[in-house]
Symmetry: C2
Subunit: 255 residues, 2 copies
């Protein structure tokens, strides 16, 4: 007997990665069976890999049997460029902005067709506006996203503005209007949103550019009321953004 029928062309490495890929923001704790299902692998195979990952410290298992990402993988993730350089440099500036405005501050880079939130600062008092470090939100519905879009290659802009997702009743979904808006962001040097991503949230954002000129990230503020003077915060953001750009290693890319 002894069963076998190894699915061909699948490397062990990719199986390991499939296990890691089974975890995401909405599924940060999984049972063995869930991991097997979500990674598309037989239970026995998943079991073996998970056990090895746990032994190494990449996964941890809690009393209830569920697995979560372990410290070892957290350590490794911490070494990523996005995290290390940008966060380290930007963190004090985010604090400056937060201290003078008392509003939620966001730091994001472009990741494909999404804005990837690298860091954020929230008041305990302020309503949770969503978004945590690591979150990915659509480019066309967020202020940081529009800023990043304004500096992105033409094909990215086209792809992002083709059939844009409607997130709230206020989300702008007409490609034409979005193209015009992105052009205006490029001209004016900042972007705004009004409840386009989250009901009850208004925001502005500015680009973070290297001294050389390349835009590498975006810095934004989110407030919970339709303040007309939101634009007045733009200079605050710009000072911080310039500071961050200057302190980044020359030639830095978020890749």
């Amino acid at each position: 007997m002894a069963g076998n029928a190894r699915e061909p062309g699948v490397s062990v490495a990719s199986r390991v990665l499939a296990v890691l890929g089974a975890f995401d923001a909405a599924h940060d704790r999984l049972t063995l069976s869930e991991i097997a299902r979500r990674s598309g692998q037989p239970l026995a195979t998943a079991h073996r890999l998970v056990a090895e990952l746990e032994r190494w410290g990449g996964l941890t298992r809690s009393d209830d049997g569920a697995y979560g990402i372990g410290r070892r993988l957290w350590d490794v993730g911490t070494l990523a460029r996005v995290e290390r350089d940008l966060r380290d440099v930007a963190s004090p500036f985010l604090q400056d902005v937060h201290r003078t405005t008392r509003e939620t501050v966001h730091l994001a880079v472009r990741d494909g067709l999404h804005a990837l939130y690298v860091d954020r600062l929230v008041d305990r008092t302020t309503a949770q506006v969503l978004s945590r470090a690591g979150a990915r939100l659509p480019l066309h519905a967020t202020a940081v996203g529009k800023v990043l879009l304004a500096q992105a290659p033409g094909d990215v802009v086209r792809a992002a503005l083709t059939d844009p997702v409607r997130v709230t009743p206020h989300t702008i979904t007409e490609p034409g209007r979005l193209h015009r808006e992105v052009a205006e962001v490029r001209r004016r040097g900042f972007a705004r949103t009004a409840e386009e991503m989250t009901p009850g949230a208004w925001s502005v954002a500015v680009p973070i550019a290297l001294p050389g000129g390349g835009v590498v990230a975006s810095l934004g503020i989110v407030v919970a009321s339709p303040r007309r003077d939101l634009v007045r915060l733009v200079p605050v953001l710009q000072v911080a953004a310039n500071g961050i750009g200057r302190e980044l290693p020359p030639g830095w890319t978020p890749t």
Copy 2:
């Protein structure tokens, strides 16, 4: 012909993990050869694994040929418990403490015989006191460390205080004195250090406990001058620590 002589007993998974393990705080960018050397694998083997990791997005290669940790792994690391729950809950409180004191704030958990810094807040103006998120420092030479030690199992305390490393001229290295100090920390509810880890740095820290009673983390402040009134900051820390403890999911552990 074709050479071979596969080293036995080494799983592919462990080879993948060895590649990841080649990266650390001091080596966040490595060339292929370095990865091969540091992970103890033949060049050709490392090459294959690295290529697969890169394809998945776990590693990125920059123009100069060096590899770094990629976004995909950053994402995964972001899902770790230490990161997610603790950071999310504690972040606003760290900001509160920072706003009222204007000093460097640290959040740490115990990881074996080290204090693992999960988050920190620094002024741009303040001298960089060392430590970034992800750093591991000895338990006996830091305030957060002493706090964590005060609540640790007996064998951990013994192991940590046996032959303690001398970091600065002020580091306390007599096991007896350290044991007494740890007992006092337990009694008093907070710990201090005076240039024991970094010359020119003084600190206090308090435990973060769950409503149930278990200490899960430590919150500390570092200042750059030997202020006598450092102890006056303890109540500020305690208020924040209580708040964090209350908001953590019941039964939370940093594992």
